[in-house]
Point group: C2
Chain length 399, copies 2
């Protein structure tokens, strides 16, 4: 390829001058087309069409159309993904559906590298269902050994939000399937970050986030995937009218849609959904394999330079780029204060308790020169301050 495809994608984003944004794994930045789309929905659809826009502007089908765009990024066929609700809510749907498919077992297995909301939702599921259901949480490195015939559902987030450590989705899913375990994967830090192949891995259910690597805007709708052959059996616990086979018949009894639509629930958040819809088109001109290759190039250059310049920082991410997602994290006791200082200098990453300084790599809008410049600024910040002084230590907390 002679032309850099990422020069084209970068032009789609509106990044503030003077900012190197390495926090797209927390909130992707704003795209010109997303802004324009929201404005169009407000002025033309809502403003002029009013209630008619549900049909005339296609609002009613947005969750399916957005779902199909996401499906392409995660190795899922059309008609297997719906954009809806939040990741937490979708995980609840997936867990109930998964447990109902393994009715003789009552154990959810997960790991303590999971994002807390996933564990909280699993706790909520266990508390809501009848006695006997329970959640077992092991260390990420112990998951494979803990997969046994007692497990009903294996619930994992592919990428550890703190360190970027990547689970081997293919291997863990294969072991689980062989034992009759239903798998639920959270792709919060995967979708849009690197290639995922749900179909090849034989994953049963997946959920993920719309506002991180998919750049859908703050609190953008999340998504949920169900393997095509499971859709007609998936119990819909949050059985709202949009999941009904015929919502506008206004039947008095719930009759689930025969397909993925049954995992919709209430009325979709149209403005937020339209924003995500427009943002997803940024992936039209790049392959996920290209994104992954560039992400590794960026993260390796960054890691090497920061490690060379900042002996105070301890790499928290796997050194092997194949073993991590699209982020690099360092441990540093004064990480909170140091990250505040970095942000003040225009390098935006984030801090995760107790001591993680986290930097995300998003080739759609972050370049090699960006990450090298960021490394220099990090070195300046790290090496010009006495980070063990009390005034910095006192700020070492999340506020």
């Amino acid at each position: 390829m002679t032309e850099d495809p990422f020069a084209k994608t970068r032009a789609l984003f509106e990044l503030p001058a003077g900012v190197i944004y390495l926090d797209g794994n927390s909130l992707g930045p704003m795209m010109t087309r997303a802004r324009a789309r929201v404005l169009r929905e407000i002025d033309e659809s809502w403003g002029r069409e009013l209630i008619r826009a549900w049909n005339s502007a296609g609002w009613i089908d947005l969750p399916a159309r957005v779902g199909d765009k996401i499906a392409k990024l995660i190795g899922a066929p059309a008609g297997s993904v719906i954009a809806a609700d939040s990741t937490s809510i979708n995980l609840y749907k997936a867990l109930i559906a998964a447990l109902r498919l393994a009715p003789t077992r009552k154990l959810i297995l997960s790991d303590n590298g999971n994002f807390p909301t996933d564990l909280y939702i699993a706790e909520g599921v266990v508390a809501t269902l009848d006695a006997g259901y329970r959640l077992k949480v092991v260390g990420p490195e112990d998951v494979e050994a803990a997969i046994d015939g007692e497990v009903a559902v294996l619930m994992l987030t592919q990428v550890d939000y703190r360190t970027g450590r990547l689970h081997d989705m293919a291997r863990l899913t294969e072991k689980a399937r062989a034992l009759g375990i239903v798998t639920v994967w959270d792709l919060a830090h995967s979708a849009g970050a690197f290639p995922v192949d749900l179909t090849a891995c034989g994953v049963d259910f997946a959920v993920g986030c719309g506002y991180k690597y998919l750049n859908g805007g703050p609190g953008a709708p999340a998504f949920i995937y169900a393997r095509p052959d499971l859709q007609s059996q998936a119990a819909a616990a949050l059985s709202g009218w949009m999941g009904h086979a015929a919502p506008f018949d206004f039947d008095l009894s719930y009759r689930p849609a025969p397909n993925i639509d049954r995992l919709r629930s209430g009325t979709p958040s149209v403005l937020s959904m339209a924003c995500l819809d427009a943002a997803l088109d940024a992936f039209d001109s790049v392959e996920m394999a290209q994104v992954r290759a560039r992400s590794i190039e960026l993260s390796e250059a960054f890691r090497a330079r920061v490690e060379a310049l900042c002996p105070q920082l301890t790499l928290a991410s796997p050194r092997d780029p194949a073993a991590r997602g699209s982020q690099i994290s360092f441990r540093f006791a004064n990480g909170y204060a140091a990250m505040q200082a970095l942000i003040a200098r225009g390098v935006i990453g984030d801090f995760r308790a107790p001591d993680i300084m986290r930097f995300g790599f998003t080739p759609l809008y972050v370049s090699l020169s960006d990450v090298l410049a960021a490394a220099e600024i990090i070195a300046e910040v790290m090496n010009r301050r006495a980070w063990d002084k009390p005034e910095f230590l006192s700020r070492n907390k999340v506020t």
Copy 2:
């Protein structure tokens, strides 16, 4: 009062020329300030602040601030309402919490005038919980007699979405409370339409819609209320991280917030939430009692004129304005086709199967001259066509 307060509120809305909008009970129209606010969140908060906007632009507290604005309209104290998710999702949360507060009983009582999604969600709750839970659905007129000591939770929508028939919230809640029943009210067609006093009625939980009379935009976040003294006991089934006592501590175990925040779940849909936030300010300059008085004036004038001009139409709403919400419905066998013809003439109401032509009255932007003009157009449409001809009958369906 010398000045009409609704002249001021009407100026806040951007209604298309040539349209008389009597469908605000389905989707409220767009307000200039709501549009501006969304744009500001996109350009200034998301665009410039990026991830920092969660704090700097106050995104993190939006659900509580929006909830407090809604609380004022429904007779609820500050700190008792959260804007979040959809009505369906919030109803699920409310039902689980309510059932857990009446652990010795397993019956949800509702009526067949309820909006279908409410019944569907109750079915989902019953199917998710252990055996023995069930949903009993009676006619709206039979609810009072069916309230007995077997009932765990009384789940009602105050206003029948088809006819506008109003339940007596005070009386039904009082009877339920006396029998130890937990009450869950859906205010979808109440909030912003007429005065509601949850506190005076002693309601335990309530949910409602952000995109009807609150004008929050398509698929705006819904809301959930919990009586202050119940909040610390309310089980959070959808226990996402935003409902945690300290979400940014990233604890591995769920510890519910001590207050209404525990009924939050995942990350809020910021753009849609901000739109609702701005729209709610339209209620700053009017009292709900004024809104109710004007609504009755509008609906009575409309009803009288349409009944005088259109003998084909049968009033489906209670004739007594005190017994209905802010809408007037007529039954007409060819209602679907007739409504399409009306919409083509600029009078936007809606159709609900099998034969309901529905018109909503929203004094914030609908005037007396609007509803009288609408009545004349309805008369023209009704009286100039042979509505029993086959070509109209064949279109009498929801598409």
